[in-house]
């Protein structure tokens, strides 16, 4: 009796400590593999915010696909020339809010919403605020480096900045 009672108590206490883990649904970066997709996206965003087109382009895979509205760009050079280079100087303060992310040994993705300041241009001299949804898919290359393989943006109408 003397030995059983503590064992029963200990078992009950241990059982009480398990379970009840609420699924916090995606959200914060939880790298399960050997890469943090949040870090990859942060590098990409930093390149945009620093207006470093070369750095942003260097993070693209050779066979990257970019989809936005009615445009479909394929390959590093087309995506660089038709998306990054013309756009990088027109925006600032790019921020993302991640809704879903995940990764395994060779792929990683992050998706959510973004907001960005749209700078005035000669043809449109009013500043604006743009918002939308994004999805980035990263793949691990043969050399072990992670590159952006697929990017999809859905933009909402740009509001006049007040």
């Amino acid at each position: 009796m003397k030995f059983y009672l503590p064992l029963v108590c200990a078992a009950a206490l241990l059982a009480s400590c398990s379970g009840n883990n609420k699924d916090t649904a995606s959200g914060a970066a939880a790298p399960a593999g050997n890469v943090s997709v949040a870090d990859l996206d942060q590098q990409f965003l930093s390149a945009w915010n620093n207006k470093d087109a070369a750095k942003a382009s260097a993070l693209l895979a050779d066979d990257v696909q970019f989809l936005q509205g009615e445009t479909r760009f394929s390959g590093k050079s087309e995506v660089t020339n038709k998306w990054i280079t013309p756009t990088i100087s027109t925006i600032s303060s790019l921020k993302t809010s991640v809704v879903s992310s995940g990764n395994d040994a060779n792929t990683a993705y992050e998706a959510g919403t973004f907001s960005v300041d749209v700078l005035p241009t000669p043809t449109n001299n009013t500043a604006g605020i743009g918002e939308g949804n994004f999805m980035f898919l990263w793949k691990k290359g043969g050399d072990g480096n992670w590159k952006l393989s697929y990017a999809q943006l859905e933009d909402l109408p740009v509001e006049v900045k007040k």
Binding site: L5, C9, T113, N133, D155
Partner: protein, 175 residues
């Protein structure tokens, strides 16, 4: 059962108290309180088991130490919950903003459509005369002031093929 065996009943009683209380009122106990109580109960049990010479002292020391550790664990769990809640609230706010922006944009586009002649398709052949190659091009005719007045930037590439949102008089492409 020896005279010290009653000491082992304390954690059991504490545990059953916690279980019943938390089952009846999920929000009654803070994670810190729950952690401290569970840790304290475990500490009493462990202390009493380890210190065989004086189980009362062992239980007391174990209880205090266990409660401290339990409180710290509970605090950590509470912080995690608060962080997750804040993230969820941020997402909900973002979704609301996007829904509101969509509604306003749809309304602005409707207004723009009613105040302008329908987006015409001009045939180059009619302008250039007979023999010209019939090439079609969109004629952007939305007054930019209408879009601006509605609180949105006008799409200066409206009607241009090869752009992301050629059919939208309101500028959509930001990033």
């Amino acid at each position: 059962m020896k005279r010290t065996s009653w000491l082992f009943l304390i954690p059991v009683l504490l545990f059953s108290l916690i279980s019943s209380h938390s089952a009846q009122a999920q929000r009654g106990w803070s994670p810190q309180g729950k952690g401290a109580a569970i840790g304290g109960a475990a500490g009493i049990l462990g202390g009493a088991l380890i210190n065989k010479r004086n189980r009362v002292v062992g239980g007391a020391i174990g209880g205090v130490a266990g409660a401290g550790v339990g409180y710290a664990v509970g605090k950590h769990i509470d912080n995690k919950h608060k962080k997750a809640d804040a993230l969820a609230a941020e997402r909900a706010a973002a979704n609301e903003r996007i829904a509101a922006a969509n509604a306003r944009a749809a309304s602005a586009e409707r207004r723009a459509t009613t105040t302008r002649p329908a987006m015409g398709i001009a045939t180059a052949a009619t302008a250039a005369g007979a023999g010209a190659v019939a090439a079609q091009a969109f004629v952007p005719s939305t007054p930019q002031s209408t879009v601006l007045a509605a609180g949105y930037l006008p799409n200066t590439q409206y009607g241009q093929a090869g752009t992301a949102y050629p059919a939208s008089p309101v500028l959509r492409k930001s990033w």
